[in-house]
């Protein structure tokens, strides 16, 4: 299908957990387009389905039904092995709790993404140092995660997400464990380094303080996108989509 300029396309995507009486409808017909070169935020209350949607987009969970195309690929049609390779090549992750490996130094953590792809350790570490330099934490390259502040850890995690030049970066509450100032700084950095014409960024967040960084904001509730706003160049958010399905 034509995916020009579109990183993620979803039509009527659903995700159901469990069976029978214990069934939970985590996603109820998601229609969404995420464009390359933009930063999209998924926002909404806890349990609204943001993280589930992110997991489905990244192939960590299978959609129950609907059509989903990510970077021109349909995850549902890929084998597990192909899905892993697809993630390794095309996706970069930034997690809420950073998920750095405590035993590895900052630069080794960054290098992990390349090591997973079979790059030699020396090359991967050298590249990791470059990225830490770009993100302004080169001076902490040989520190363990436990020796880093929250902001530093998130920068290292960001370097890990970017080092293999993925086309889709996903972040799960990347600022929720940080204070306002540090969170703002991390988002500035994310915006500056991650958003490129050939790449899309999706952030799941509760943090209203960072909404200004978004090009598009999808508001979710009860497994649905209840409104979609686009950030105008002047910073004002315009509601371009409001679904009546929330009420149905």
């Amino acid at each position: 299908m034509a995916t020009d300029g579109i990183a993620v396309f979803s039509r009527d995507v659903t995700k159901v957990f469990g069976r029978g009486e214990t069934q939970v409808h985590a996603l109820r017909g998601i229609d969404l387009k995420i464009r390359l070169g933009e930063l999209t935020m998924l926002v909404g209350p806890s349990g609204s389905g943001k993280t589930t949607l992110l997991s489905v987009i990244t192939g960590l969970l299978d959609a129950t039904s609907g059509e989903l195309v990510v970077l021109g690929q349909r995850p549902a049609e890929l084998s597990q092995e192909e899905l892993i390779l697809f993630r390794r090549k095309n996706l970069g992750f930034v997690f809420q709790q950073y998920n750095l490996i405590p035993a590895l130094t900052a630069v080794e953590n960054v290098a992990v993404s390349l090591l997973a792809g079979g790059v030699k350790r020396r090359q991967a570490v050298a590249r990791g140092e470059e990225f830490l330099e770009i993100l302004g934490v080169a001076y902490r390259a040989h520190a363990l995660p436990s020796e880093l502040s929250g902001g530093e850890q998130q920068r290292v995690a960001l370097a890990r997400a970017l080092i293999h030049e993925p086309r889709l970066i996903v972040g799960d509450e990347p600022t929720s464990a940080l204070d306002g100032r540090t969170g703002h700084a991390v988002m500035e950095l994310l915006r500056a380094t991650a958003v490129r014409p050939d790449r899309a960024v999706i952030i799941v967040t509760h943090d209203a303080r960072i909404f200004d960084f978004a090009d598009q904001i999808a508001h979710m509730d009860d497994g649905r996108i209840v409104s979609l706003e686009e950030n105008q160049k002047n910073g004002a958010l315009t509601n371009v989509f409001a679904t009546a399905s929330a009420a149905s």
Binding site: R87, F93, N99, D172
Partner: protein, 379 residues
């Protein structure tokens, strides 16, 4: 990714060392107890094993093992010699006597009377003197442990005397006889001499030792002897095995050692297994992140197996080192002489450790393989 696996393994020093020491301790306990068990269970047949000249032991049909003997009649020796296929046959006395040192100290001793003419059955490992000195009047060869008991603190020397059945026993040699099960001193003397050292019984022919003729197998000659004489004929290996089985069936030794070995096996499996499992579970989030990033399951399995091999290998090596040091220390100690650390035990423990870490890895691997990488999105 191997260095990532190794760094994850060693970063928590306390857990890493507890894993290694658990495996080392279990390996040591297993190796130690099994080796001691084998060493002790080899002792009942030590006098049989020490006879290297003859291949066949002929005895009363109801004999269970060499420790309890019902004497044959003297003419049984000639009956055995007359069996076709028997190259030669000689008498052997084996019994218990009481020996007394000049200072009044006495002990029950194992007395072996070997053929006067050929000295078949005489000890082959001599520390002092020669078996040919058994030709001298009242001569006997005593084992090292027996000499140490009767003459503590004295250097090994010949010419010492003991008293048995109110007769003088002249020590003409010190042997390195294998340790018997009951730790009694072992005395070798001539067959004719042995009769004087013990109280007179009507029959004293404990065994007939025989050798098959050239071209004849031991099994075939044993069969012929049994058919011709009605006596029981066993090869040295079979007779040794009889003694081993007798002690297995009639003593609590295998049960006691078996319990210890089982405990070692359970402790050795459960502790490292559980620790390794907990170690993996605690790292689940990291493994989840790696899976999300795009590390394949095969790669993660490889990482866990590498961690298991390093832990298992290091723990095993340490355990074997401790065991070797233990036996190096005790091998020259008289009560534990002959109890060594067989390479077969070392190899067997390697298999056990491989099994333990393999099992622990499998359980851990299963947890990682079924792990949804989406777990990384849960704060």
């Amino acid at each position: 990714m191997n260095f990532v696996a190794l760094k994850m393994l060693v970063s928590d020093r306390a857990k890493y060392f507890s894993l290694i020491f658990a495996i080392a301790f279990a390996s040591f306990l297993l190796a130690n107890q099994i080796s001691i068990f084998i060493g002790i269970m080899a002792r009942p047949s030590s006098q049989v094993q020490d006879v290297v000249d003859a291949d066949i032991w002929v005895m009363d049909p109801q004999t269970l093992y060499d420790g309890e003997v019902y004497s044959l009649r003297d003419y049984d020796l000639y009956r055995v010699r007359s069996v076709p296929g028997v190259e030669w046959a000689v008498p052997l006395y084996k019994g218990l006597g009481r020996a007394k040192a000049p200072d009044g100290k006495f002990r029950t001793v194992i007395l072996l009377g070997v053929n006067d003419a050929t000295l078949v059955g005489a000890p082959r490992k001599m520390l002092l003197g020669s078996i040919y000195d058994l030709d001298r009047p009242d001569a006997a060869i005593i084992d090292n442990a027996g000499f140490q008991y009767f003459f503590p603190g004295e250097p090994l020397q010949v010419g010492k005397t003991l008293e048995m059945n109110e007769r003088r026993v002249l020590i003409v040699g010190i042997s390195d006889a294998s340790a018997p099960f009951q730790s009694f001193p072992v005395l070798h003397t001539r067959y004719s001499q042995a009769l004087g050292f013990v109280g007179r019984e009507r029959n004293l022919l404990s065994f007939v030792l025989a050798k098959p003729a050239a071209g004849m197998t031991v099994a075939e000659v044993c069969r012929r002897i049994e058919a011709a004489t009605g006596l029981k004929a066993r090869s040295t290996a079979e007779f040794s095995w009889d003694a081993f089985l007798f002690y297995i069936r009639n003593t609590g030794i295998p049960v006691n050692f078996g319990i210890t070995v089982m405990i070692a096996l359970i402790v050795g499996t459960v502790i490292p297994g559980q620790t390794f499992y907990i170690f993996t579970v605690e790292n689940l989030k990291q493994f989840g992140a790696l899976k999300a990033i795009g590390v394949t399951n095969r790669r993660i399995v490889g990482m866990i197996l590498l961690q298991a091999i390093v832990v298992g290998g290091t723990g095993y090596a340490l355990g074997m080192g401790i065991t070797a040091a233990f036996f190096a220390r005790t091998v020259n100690y008289l009560p534990t002489r002959g109890i060594v650390f067989p390479w077969q035990v070392m190899a067997g423990i390697a298999v056990v450790v491989l099994f333990v870490v393999g099992l622990a890895s499998l359980i851990s691997i299963r947890r990682v393989l079924v792990l949804e990488p989406a777990v990384v999105f849960r704060g």
